[in-house]
């Protein structure tokens, strides 16, 4: 595996550190910080700027922004990674079958994927969430479905490329079954592309979750979510700009980390795209 190469340049290193730090916060924060710290209202310190008592300030209800943004990491990362996982679980077999079997199956599946690609991902996610009723689980489903066609398309392209490689032809001539060909020869060789695309999808999923929650069609209060926090800040921008800046910076750092790491991964795993970042 050429994975370590991704850490060799500074961009990949910074990205990896950022991603690791946020993952750590997402996992550890809910264990260390009692739930009520993020919902406790300090009415005497509403919209307080950063102070010793509240290092990142407070929101309109006097809730501590540092605790909220730390716990929000859990919500955002959980939703985004579940959604991306869901799109892989659906998109991987779809793309593999389409690319490997080809012909009519490929035509039908890709026509469907192209149709889904005509719907802007955010619009599709918002519509599914609105129709199902917005909550945590449906936000995951909405983003997961919206991202599936992108993944399926890329996997199909890779599967098509790999299944015509001489070594696959050779393995087929040697009498290997289709199943063995896919599992042993094709799947391992398209994994780099899947990993790169998943990292990039994760960045988009974080943005999508923030967008959905910002519009009130994603995570619902009282859960802490970065998008929700930015939405709540809208009415207090003049007096308390930090209520928008703190969650905004959290989204930016996470997505920036994922993008930097994704770029470095792509350069390391796919030499053809060298410098394409």
């Amino acid at each position: 595996m050429k994975l370590p190469a991704a850490f060799r340049n500074s961009k990949g290193m910074i990205g990896a550190v950022l991603v690791l730090a946020i993952l750590l916060v997402a996992v550890i924060a809910p264990m260390l910080i009692p739930d009520d710290w993020a919902t406790r209202m300090d009415m005497r310190a509403r919209l307080s700027p950063p102070t010793w008592a509240h290092p990142l300030g407070t929101d309109q209800l006097g809730r501590d922004l540092m605790y909220r943004v730390l716990l929000g990491a859990h919500t955002s990362v959980f939703i985004a990674s579940s959604a991306v996982l869901m799109s892989i679980v659906i998109g991987l077999p779809l793309g593999l079958i389409s690319g490997y079997v080809g012909r009519m199956t490929d035509n039908v599946l890709m026509r469907l994927v192209d149709t889904l690609l005509s719907f802007p991902a955010l619009l599709l996610a918002l519509t599914i969430s609105a129709v199902l009723g917005p909550n945590l689980q449906n936000t995951i489903i909405a983003i997961g479905i919206a991202f599936t066609p992108y993944l399926a398309r890329i996997i199909r392209g890779e599967a098509l490329r790999v299944s015509h490689m001489p070594y696959v032809e050779a393995a087929r001539t040697a009498g290997n079954s289709d199943r063995r060909l896919i599992v042993r020869h094709i799947l391992p060789n398209i994994m780099p592309a899947v990993i790169v695309q998943s990292t990039i999808s994760l960045a988009f999923a974080i943005l999508a979750e923030a967008g959905l929650s910002f519009l009130g069609l994603g995570t619902q209060p009282p859960d802490a979510s970065w998008g929700l926090m930015i939405q709540a800040s809208r009415d207090y921008l003049d007096r308390a700009p930090w209520t928008a800046l703190v969650p905004g910076a959290a989204v930016a750092l996470t997505v920036l980390g994922l993008n930097m790491f994704g770029d470095a991964l792509r350069d390391a795993l796919d030499p053809r795209s060298k410098g394409a970042s």
């Binding site: 005509s118 918002l126 599914i128 923030a210 920036l256």
Partner: protein
């Protein structure tokens, strides 16, 4: 000619599939139009009566047929929230959105192409670092966050531009432009970042090719090599990406128009979604998907004009 005919046939098929997906998503999933109209507290008999009169008891296929028939004949139904026929409402909002979509596309292209070229011409130097870092930051921040920053800076802080609202260009051209500028910038920044990255990647690939070395070897000025030779070859791919971004833009306008209270297509879509106005959602989703598809078709056809190497067969 057969290429164009082929594309049109394929487009019609995709349009049909788009309509089927739109109808399926809004119908098969739970949610009852009659309940939405009358509220959850209404009496069961009245609900049943309304369901009957709306044809909600008919088989799904019949309902789909009625809906698609209406869409084709220009009768797009009536919005449950606005209590108005959807077709004229949608057309009016679309023209409002067209202004910010075109403006943001222009801002993005005008800035992204030079920035991307600049980064590609000076790889790994400060020009590249500056341009690449800025575009990386650009793709990493949500559009609504840019929007909020602009409201803080240009509307609240400096007081140069209004922070919300829409003005009809037919009534007040300058006012319309002033109201459209901030939403367009918020939309355009993310787009610009994507396009800068794409332009840089494409140009980097092209500048390493043989014909560029030949052009330099025969003594052509660097300016001619880059802007006439290299960029001419980058226009196609960059245009394709710009076309693909139309879909991204139509997703983003929902957030940005809601933030700026700019009453266009995105705002209308959001109102429909918030109030579960199923007929309005169906019409807007279908129209947006169709517009995105048409934009991509247009780009494909333009590609042929820009790049004469592509022979249609």
């Amino acid at each position: 000619m057969s290429y164009i005919l082929n594309r049109i046939l394929s487009m019609l098929l995709t349009l049909f599939l788009i309509s089927a997906v739109t109808f399926a998503v809004t119908n098969i999933l739970p949610g009852d139009v009659a309940m939405i109209i009358m509220g959850t507290q209404s009496n069961p008999e009245a609900l049943a009566g309304l369901r009957e009169s709306l044809g909600l008891n008919d088989p799904l296929l019949a309902q789909y047929g009625r809906w698609i028939g209406g869409m084709l004949s220009g009768d797009w139904g009536t919005s449950l929230v606005f209590k108005e026929p959807i077709a004229p409402l949608l057309l009016q909002k679309m023209t409002a959105s067209a202004l910010i979509v075109l403006l943001s596309m222009t801002i993005a292209l005008v800035c992204a192409v030079p920035l991307g070229v600049w980064a590609a011409v000076y790889p790994n130097r400060w020009q590249d670092t500056a341009s690449s870092s800025a575009s990386l930051l650009g793709v990493s921040l949500p559009d609504f966050f840019w929007g909020i920053m602009m409201i803080l800076l240009f509307a609240r802080g400096l007081g140069w531009l209004p922070s919300s609202g829409f003005v009809d260009p037919g009534e007040d051209v300058l006012g319309a432009f002033r109201h459209a500028l901030l939403p367009s910038l918020a939309l355009g920044l993310g787009l610009m970042a994507h396009l800068t990255r794409m332009t840089r990647a494409t140009m980097t690939g092209i500048l390493n090719q043989e014909f560029i070395r030949v052009a330099r070897a025969k003594g052509l000025g660097e300016r001619t090599v880059i802007w006439r030779y290299a960029l001419a070859n980058a226009v196609g791919p960059v245009m394709t990406v710009a076309g693909l971004q139309v879909g991204y833009l139509f997703g983003s306008i929902i957030v940005v128009e809601s933030l700026f209270n700019y009453t266009g297509m995105g705002w209308l879509t959001y109102q429909g979604l918030l109030n579960r106005d199923i007929p309005l959602i169906q019409a807007t989703v279908f129209v947006v998907a169709a517009v995105v598809m048409l934009a991509n078709l247009l780009v494909d056809l333009l590609y042929v004009v820009v790049d004469p190497r592509i022979r249609l067969s």
